[in-house]
Symmetry: C2
Subunit: 334 residues, 2 copies
């Protein structure tokens, strides 16, 4: 069924409010979910609403969290999310990282006791809009087998980096270190679609394109040892350093109801003019040089990370969103 | 020919001194070069000595640099390498980053007007030994085609991350974002060996395993758009942000004698106990969990990044190094 983004947003706000989330938290969460749909990342969109509600119902997401911000230095803060919905702890933390960087040039904010916070890129965007470079790291439930192992332990642990571009479209790289992101596999499973080759093994260690078998088995990291090492790095930064769960202990929000997820995040923000005055001019030139390279046949334009998502967002924001009937049924039920 | 590491180090120190590098700079450089041999990364070892000397002779590497350290805040510094040999600018900068983190918990040090500095992991090691987490970024001469382009522009731009482990062997991920690192391809070309499939295209855009054709063509990033985006991120952090060359303008040290390289680096250091007191205990537990996973048939032990290199170093440090005759001839000539 097709439905306008604004209508859908109101619907989701109401669903969250029915689950005792206050208006502000419901709004922050609904906005992130709708935006994921609009940028073309439905795996982080409305398909997750049912899961969030289930965890709210079971009090595994705290609908009335006492989120604490501890000032360690003027640049460094630690946020204890008190098991709030991840969107909210993430939002408070990135705002703190921006504040710290405004005052000292740099901000480093760790978050513990948080949950799945959607797309890292939305947090990165907030910092980039204030002329900052930014890293966002988060860990996630076990999905990837470390290099050499046949059992999953690391999450798909995205690396997200953002930079101003001197134009209104930010540079935002937001890449999981798995061949395919887990949300996409879940989405494929929900719709009965196949996943790409080389993305996963079934539980016996055989390659599979069946989304359900992949979910029961292990996903593969990009580039073998390299991707496995990057996933490990993100787990250390988000989990070991912050006080959150790590080393395979982050709970799967969809099927582990034994306790809160306790995901960790780490945000690093840097003023773009920390070392020189003409950052925007330099990054513009950098992008221009890449864009004017000779292209592979069939490629019209070399895009920088974040550019396609931004264009899809602008194109889709006043249009209707197509919701699979399966998922609409869930929403109406909620 | 086989030669003891210590003997070879003295030989290289003397070669550099003959090229008017002072004793201290010669020693820092020779140590990094020998260590690359000992950890099993000969692509960053003695095969490069001739190139460094050629650039010293042509005054493209400054043998008497006035390296400046600008204090921006107690946490943030900018190093102007004055076209010193990269090892030296890098060494000064990582020591500054460690000093900053000791005093404020975090250090961010940018470097401009530097050159090829060898393996990032040696800089990371210095910080990890002082109980810090660390990122080292550096850009490099054009080698990789951005996703969608048929011409090289990004360097192999390594991502290096280090963490204490609670044991004497540090966790150090040091991974280029190319399928194969450029040094390895150069080394293969020198010895007339083939390179692995899928690592490069020749100048006509066809896959090749011929090292010389690969050097004339383009190398491929890991994981397509993702690897390309990571290479771009490293170029922004090392080049655009710092004031160094970027966007394909870093000069190739082997065959571009039109000026200094002006490579840029960025080091970020964080005290490991910034957010909690038991970091070492937590990281130990993290590594233990990964290590005890069931393994792929034939894998004896799951290794963390840096572990194999460390073991090779310990094993090789008192043994002889095997130098290809080709390279020995070059050294004797110098």
């Amino acid at each position: 069924m097709k439905i306008y983004a604004q209508t859908l947003k109101r619907k989701i706000i109401n669903i969250f409010k029915k689950h005792n989330l206050d208006h502000k938290h419901s709004k922050i969460s609904a906005e992130a979910i709708i935006k994921a749909e609009l940028v073309g990342a439905p795996s982080h969109g409305i398909t997750r609403v049912k899961m969030y509600c289930e965890r709210l119902k079971r009090k595994l997401i705290n609908n009335n969290p006492k989120i604490k911000i501890k000032e360690i230095t003027k640049s460094v803060s630690l946020v204890d999310g008190d098991n709030s919905i991840g969107f909210v702890a993430g939002d408070i933390a990135i705002k703190q990282a921006i504040k710290n960087a405004k005052s000292t040039g740099i901000g480093i904010v760790a978050v513990k006791n948080s949950g799945h916070y959607g797309l890292s890129s939305f947090f990165a965007e907030q910092a980039v809009k204030r002329n900052m470079l930014v890293f966002c790291f988060t860990n996630a439930p076990p999905a990837l087998a470390p290099h050499g192992a046949i059992k999953k332990l690391f999450g798909t642990n995205p690396i997200c980096f953002g930079s101003p571009t001197g134009s209104k479209i930010p540079f935002i790289l937001d890449t999981s270190v798995s061949v395919t992101n887990r949300g996409k596999i879940r989405f494929a499973a929900k719709l009965g679609k196949k996943i790409s080759k080389n993305a996963a093994l079934d539980k016996y260690g055989n390659p599979t394109t069946d989304a359900n078998k992949a979910l029961a088995g292990v996903q593969l990291p990009i580039a073998g040892f390299r991707g496995s090492g990057l996933a490990w790095m993100v787990d250390i930064l988000s989990g070991v350093l912050t006080g959150a769960n790590h080393g395979g202990k982050v709970k799967d929000p969809f099927d582990d109801f034994s306790g809160p997820q306790n995901i960790g995040h780490l945000f690093i923000t840097l003023k773009s003019n920390l070392f020189l005055k003409n950052y925007n001019q330099r990054i513009k030139q950098n992008i221009k040089r890449v864009k004017k390279l000779p292209k592979i046949k069939g490629v019209k334009e070399i895009m920088y990370p974040g550019q396609s998502k931004y264009r899809r967002y602008k194109k889709n924001m006043n249009k209707t969103i197509n919701i699979p009937n399966e998922i609409l049924k869930d929403l109406n039920h909620l």
